[in-house]
């Protein structure tokens, strides 16, 4: 990563105003959003929206043509183009023809996308953004940091400073007063403007209507007072039918700001009368700018289902730390990364795609049913395809895939790091590696990997055999978790098989875009794991479980190795995570807990892959309760701990503050133990508490259950 990018991240995470404002907002947002959706079946609603938008995306050209025909029949002028430069030329032409000297604009991301203001001002036309947030950033000479709240990164003091300069009078940083100043300053501009420019939130093909959703009332003035109105509309805003507007209006305000409906919604169909009795000149520009190309790409077509509510930004643990400007473009956050890769170019997303930690928080809240993490993975894949893996990456994957060599090297590094380690941890690393131990210690590597200890475990010969897939962390850093798992299953009369040929699950390669490497890992593991003659494969690492049960097939498909798919699916069907398997065994009466001991309070951290991909969150809690613990929930129990595999190594400046927040939330429960089902989270959180020196024990659920189960 470039120094410049790293520096912008450091500036952002150290900007207390920014992280304070975003942090508070993201916490309030979750509450308000949930309240706004009370009594609404969100899954059903977003299913309808995804269907409406997806079928529109299949047929963009026809919809655009139908929109043009119907809007023109009502008297509007519709201009279709794929080229941003032509959009600007068209708008400048309209302005020139009509002698336009001043423009008022209501909020439009499409105009931001093509930097329309710059062109207008270069042509000597005065432009006033009238959305308060947009006006603030216009005065500040900045780009929006959030698609719904463009100036969320600024404090009222900074706004007061800007306004004071604009009106040449000292203005206090009192928010209602600042809003009054904006009303007073912009009102004459509205009344004097020759041209109003807006965007549109929805465009309806069958009626030629555009729908504008606002809170401030500026779009009503922009579309009423000037004699000319130009709406710039990205073709992804098209829907076929008029009643397609309803579900989008149901979701957009709820997801964007937690409102049931915004203060104003205007549905404009054709030109309306001006106040002097003339008919308004209404131009609607339908802009493509690579959207149709996107619709034809099977991996990215879903991006056109986006209704631009910004909820993916609002729930993102990274966005709330770094804000929007780090993303460098007009569109920010996860969705912004995808739009930048398309509307600008793939290379522009090279750095920002790395900001996604793949926690999946945005997936369940998206009203358009976009899978943003999946699309970002695809961007990674294409970047690697275009540029190839870096030498460092190649070297790393080479080692990771050779288990014996990997352990030897890790162990050597661990021993070499002895000077810096204490007991189970490496506290400090020298030189450029020191970032890795900033705020978190790394686990010392076990002297003997699980693969070697396993041979010495004496197991009863059971009728049923289950294959154990350990994954790197349990094998090399936490063999005790593997041993506890074997003991647990033995108590249910199950014999555990550990095929030593198993190799890395491929997640590190996959999450870095090296799909070919991940596919090789998939094949190697599928072969070995299916050979054992068992019907179930268990893993105590959710990332590995997801690899086996979800990623293998997808990866093989992506690289065209479809011959492996039947086996990949067979393995997927056999794969189960530790807590789910144990809960089943308890339900079947094959495992039972010792009775009558109160083990005190415990809190539980939900790991990203376990909760959001595998949808497992109740199972471990119930098991811990049955074991004798009282579960005290922490604040934001399912927010990422900041580990994200190699993420914490690439972006420790982001990973570390996320971890600090997690540690704080854990400590605030007062529970002396925090449980989780992921060895990666254990590594992150245990390492954090080691440096924090708080007396909180960090344990994998498997370690807490094993001794509480009857033999």
């Amino acid at each position: 990563m470039k120094q410049e990018f790293k520096a912008s991240i450091s500036r952002a995470v150290n900007d207390a105003n920014l992280t304070g404002a975003l942090g508070k907002f993201s916490e309030a947002y979750k509450v308000n959003r949930a309240k706004a959706y009370e009594g609404i079946d969100f899954e059903e609603l977003r299913g309808r929206i995804a269907e409406i938008k997806s079928s529109a995306a299949c047929d963009l050209d026809a919809l655009a043509e139908s929109f043009k025909k119907n809007a023109e029949a009502l008297g509007a002028k519709v201009f279709r183009t794929s080229d941003p430069d032509e959009v600007k030329r068209y708008i400048l032409d309209v302005a020139r023809r009509n002698g336009v000297r001043s423009v008022v604009k209501s909020k439009s991301m499409a105009t931001e996308e093509i930097h329309l203001n710059r062109s207008l001002m270069e042509a000597g036309i005065a432009v006033a953004e009238t959305d308060l947030g947009e006006w603030i950033i216009q005065l500040a000479g900045q780009t929006p940091s959030h698609m719904v709240m463009p100036a969320i990164h600024m404090t009222k003091e900074e706004v007061a400073e800007l306004f004071s300069k604009e009106v040449e009078e000292r203005i206090e940083s009192d928010i209602p007063r600042l809003v009054k100043v904006a009303r007073g300053e912009l009102r004459p501009k509205f009344l004097a403007a020759d041209l109003g420019i807006s965007g549109a939130n929805i465009a309806v093909a069958e009626t030629g209507s555009i729908v504008l959703v606002t809170n401030e009332g500026n779009a009503r003035l922009v579309t009423t007072l000037p004699k000319i109105h130009i709406a710039l509309v990205g073709v992804e805003k098209l829907v076929q039918k008029f009643d397609g507007v309803v579900p989008i209006l149901d979701a957009l305000p709820r997801s964007a700001t937690g409102q049931l409906l915004t203060s104003y919604v205007s549905i404009i169909s054709g030109p309306v009368p001006n106040d002097d009795g003339s008919a308004k000149e209404l131009h609607i520009v339908l802009m493509d700018n690579r959207r149709t190309e996107m619709a034809r790409d099977p991996k990215f077509k879903q991006a056109l289902q986006c209704i631009r509510c910004g909820s993916c930004l609002n729930v993102c643990p990274i966005f709330r730390l770094v804000g929007g400007h780090v993303f460098g473009g007009i569109y920010t956050g996860g969705i912004g990364t995808i739009l930048t890769a398309w509307f600008d170019e793939l290379q522009k997303s090279e750095e920002i795609q790395g900001l996604c930690i793949q926690c999946g928080s945005c997936v369940p809240v998206c009203p358009g049913k976009l899978d943003i993490p999946e699309m970002i993975m695809e961007i990674r894949r294409r970047l690697v395809q275009e540029k190839g893996q870096t030498l460092v990456q190649k070297a790393i994957f080479g080692v990771v895939n050779n288990r014996k060599l990997f352990h030897t090297m890790l162990r050597a590094a661990s021993v070499a790091g002895k000077a810096f380690s204490s007991g189970k941890f490496i506290r400090h690393l020298p030189l450029f590696l020191s970032d890795l131990t900033e705020g978190r210690s790394l686990p010392a590597i076990a002297a003997e990997p699980f693969r070697d200890s396993f041979a010495r475990i004496r197991q009863p010969k059971g009728l049923e055999k289950v294959v154990f897939y350990a994954g790197c962390l349990i094998d090399f850093a936490y063999p005790e978790m593997g041993i506890a798992l074997v003991k647990t299953l033995n108590k249910a009369g199950i014999e555990v098989i550990f095929p030593p040929e198993q190799t890395c699950c491929g997640a590190p390669a996959l999450y870095n875009g090296a799909y070919e490497v991940a596919a090789q890992n998939a094949c190697d593991n599928i072969r070995v794991l299916l050979q054992q003659g068992a019907t179930r494969v268990v893993s105590a690492c959710p990332t590995c479980t997801v690899a086996l049960s979800h990623d293998f097939a997808r990866t093989l498909e992506s690289v065209g190795q479809t011959g492996w798919l039947p086996q990949a699916r067979e393995l997927a069907a056999q794969t189960v995570d530790f807590s789910t398997l144990v809960q089943q065994l308890v339900a079947e009466g094959r495992l039972s807990f010792k009775e009558g001991e109160d083990l005190g309070s415990i809190t539980y951290h939900d790991s990203c892959h376990l909760k959001r991909t595998l949808k497992v969150s109740e199972q471990p809690r119930e098991l811990l309760q049955q074991a004798g613990y009282r579960v005290t929930e922490m604040f934001e129990c399912d927010i990422c701990c900041g580990m994200g595999g190699s993420y914490s190594m690439k972006l420790p400046e982001i990973s570390a503050p996320i971890l600090q927040k997690k540690l704080k939330n854990i400590k605030e429960t007062g529970a002396p133990i925090v449980a989780m089902d992921c060895p990666g989270c254990v590594m992150q959180i245990r390492g954090g508490f080691d440096q924090d020196e708080a007396a909180v024990r960090v344990q994998h659920t498997v370690e807490l259950l094993v001794d509480r189960l009857k033999d």
Partner: protein, 179 residues
Amino acid sequence: MYEQFKARALGVGAELHRFGTGGEAVSFILSFLQHEGVAEAPGSRAVWAESPFLAGLRPEFPGLSFAVTRELAAQSKIGISQMEWALADTGSLVQDQVAVEQRLVSSLTSIHVAVIATGNILEGKVALFQRINPSTSRYIAFITGPSRTADIERVLTIGVHGPERLIIVCVDELGGGRA
């Protein structure tokens, strides 16, 4: 339906009054103009857009005008209009505002007084969409509470570009159906 509409409208910061007859509503509105100090002076005027329930009547009040122009609306403190539908689930008012004076009185003034037939309160958007048609209603306007913003530090602030107060006047005798 009325109770839900009322709760939602109040929830988004609108004010609401209910009267049995159109006459009572007019008396209320005139006394409201008095209370707000409406007078024949820039910034203190009131404008009243064509409202079917007045049936051509033009109540007199100093500073109140029925001939709505952009200049008058911009100088007015209060704008009065009759809206066509109300939505119980969001507390919204809806009207085809293709006639420009309907837009001017409800967007340029500081206070918007909106008259609505109690019988025209619908459940929500689905019911509304069965009754409106964009090919004949060219500017369908939804108004839900006063103008608002949270663009500075996410603090909710009322009255940015549109009215800072929305006074809803429900009238029972106007009945249902199309106003």
